[in-house]
Structures are given as C-alpha cells and as structure tokens.
C-alpha cells in the first residue's frame, strides 16, 4: 500500500506540495459523514479505458486511487475528510491519428475503386478512426488530494493548476451542493479578516500604493 501511495501521489503525501486554499460556503445536511459519503459514491471516478470517452472526472480514495472505496468512514479522519480528485484523460498523438487515417483512407479507396474521398466521407472516416483509437488507448490519470476540515469550513487542495482547480470547484458543487470560495487577496480580506462595515467600504475603494519616489 505504501508503495502505491508513493508511486502515484503528487499531492498530500509528497515531500514538497503545492496548495490552494478554499472556504466552503453553505450548510451540509446532517449526518455529515453519510451526506459526504453519498456525494463521493455518486460522483466517484468512472473508468474509461474500454470506452470512447476522452475524459473522466470524479472522486477517488487517497489510499487506493485506482479502486475508489468510500464504504464506512474510510475517508474520515477526526474532523477531516480526506479524499482525492482524479482526472483521467486520453490524448491521441497527432501522428498516430494521421497514420491510421492514411491506412483507412487507402482501404476505403481500394474498396470503392475511386481516386478520392468527398469532404463528408473524410470527416466520417476521421471520426471513426478517432473513436476506434480512443477505445484502444488507455487514459492517463492525474490524482489531486484534498483535505476538508468541515468544522472550520476550510479545504486544502493540493494543486495550483488552474484546470484542476476548476474541475474541483464544479465537482464539489455537483457532489455536495456546496460552493467553494477560492482564497486570494480579496477573499482573504473579505472573508477571513473580520473587517467592520466601514473597513470593508475602504477596502472596496483601495487603489495601488507606490512605494518608490
């Protein structure tokens, strides 16, 4: 198991991590652990290796990222929920697509005894070749860990990649009906700094300081 964790996790279990912080907005239905388990199971990552889909996004377990298991309270540690976002993508190399398209085009021309294919025929053939390759090519998984402290309403997401953060925000909303507010300078000031109404008015009107003469 430890080998698994070491091999595939670039997040929480790495010696050097990237971290984005979120605040959870909204109320979660009680009992909390059961509600979270339901959201995780319903939106756990689907395998697409034998499928024509080119992308799959869902939750997985931190301890077994390639066989999601949210039974019992396996994702619950004290007041923390710890699980992972998995994004599987298939990418067909352009040269591979070109190779199979050339082969299939030759076969079709031979079969129809013609010297060319129409624009529509080329389009249909490309779609067929792409679909066939998508079914044969395995997806590449990316696993991003997260820790959700449901008492403090903080989420630590172990990636700074824009695409993975966007996937997280939409999947979290879909799974738990809760919004994630990203913490950056404005939201840190507005949500975490206990500003009075008067201070908040000043914040809204601020403009950059020039420290140089």
């Amino acid at each position: 198991m430890v080998f698994f964790l070491e091999s595939y996790h670039m997040g929480l279990l790495s010696s050097s991590v990237s971290l984005s912080r979120y605040r959870v907005e909204g109320h979660i239905e009680k009992p909390v652990t059961e509600t979270v388990a339901k959201g995780l199971k319903k939106n756990s990552v689907a395998e697409i290796d034998q499928d024509i889909s080119d992308k799959s996004v869902g939750w997985t377990s931190i301890e077994s990222p390639f066989s999601p298991n949210f039974e019992g309270s396996s994702f619950s540690f004290g007041n923390l929920f710890v699980f992972s976002l998995r994004v599987d993508r298939k990418s067909i190399p352009a040269k591979l697509l070109k190779k199979f398209l050339t082969i299939e085009t030759s076969k079709r021309l031979e079969k129809t005894r013609r010297g060319f294919l129409t624009k529509d025929e080329k389009k249909v053939l490309k779609e067929k070749v792409t679909t066939d390759l998508a079914r044969r090519i395995p997806s590449t998984p990316n696993v991003y860990d997260l820790i959700w402290n449901y008492e403090s309403r903080d989420v630590y997401f172990f990636s700074n990649l824009r695409s993975s953060n966007e996937e997280l925000e939409s999947l979290f909303k879909r799974s738990f009906d809760l919004s994630l507010i990203r913490i950056f300078p404005y939201t840190a000031a507005d949500l975490l700094s206990d500003l009075s109404d008067q201070e908040r008015d000043v914040l809204i009107g601020l403009s950059p300081t020039h420290f140089s003469d």
Partner: protein
Amino acid sequence: MLDLAVAYNRYRFLGDEFLTWLWFLIETDQNTFRNIDPDCTALEMGNRIVLENRKKKSLERITIRGDDAGLEEGRLALKKGALLAELSLVFKTGENQWQFSIKGESLNLSNFKAPGPALPPSQEEMEGFLLNKYENYNKINVFIEKVFKSFIKLRVSTKWSAKVIPNIKKWIRSIDA
C-alpha cells in the same frame, strides 16, 4: 461580495503589497511574527524572489535566485517601482522548519516542505499520520492568514499612509546608505 473573477484581477495588487510589506517586516520587526505565533523563532527570506514592475509600459519581471537571494538587487528593483510578486520563505520554530513559496496574486503556496515523514510508517498508522500532516500544513496557513489580517487591517486604516508607507520608503532608500 463582488464577482470573484473581477475581484481577483481588481485587487491583485493587494497580494503584491502584502509580500512587499512582509519583506519589510522580516528585516525590521520579527516581533510581529512572534506575537502572531509564539512558536515562531524566525521568519526568513528563502532562496527565490520574483518582482514585477507594473509602472512601466510593459510588465517587467525580475527573478532572483540563490541563497541570500540577491536582496540588494531586489531592493533596487523596489526603488524603481517594482513590488514582490512571489517570495520563498522559511518559517522556523525551536525544533522544526517549514519552507514554502507564496504567490501574491493568489496566495497559493508551492514548494511547500513541512516537517515529518512524507509517507506513513504503516497502514495502521495512517490516521495519526494524516492528522499530523494536516496540522503541519495548517500551522503555516493559519500563520499566513493572521499575518495577512494584520496587513489588511493596516491597509484600510489611516496608519497605512501616515506611517507604513513612509517607513517602507525609508527602508527602500536605506540601500544607498
């Protein structure tokens, strides 16, 4: 609350000002950090700083790497109107140290190295390991949140123009001394 995408860009300067103020504090007032976290024995500059100058027509970006990361060159860039956009830091307590980089516009952390083992010693010790790991990451996040809160309270007060800006300008000018 404002639209978040608009707010991210409209107020990104606050992050750069925060990091610049933080550098000023590191050099002039370590007590602030000890008051925020009594465990903190020192907050030190790490080995990389990135400055951006938006006063010029085109954005000028300066990256300084290496131990004692060219602080004089950095201050010279401040003098020309640049602000810190990214900063690597070392947070020290009596026994441990945390290293990380913080980005002004997003407050994202990267190259974050916390004390303790990267992997659990055994499957049975996973829960204790994860809780400990969380505490180690949380310590720095709580620290940054409190330091940022001190900054923003100052930033929306009259003290910012009356005291902080003159002191930072004086500190920047002190490179000539």
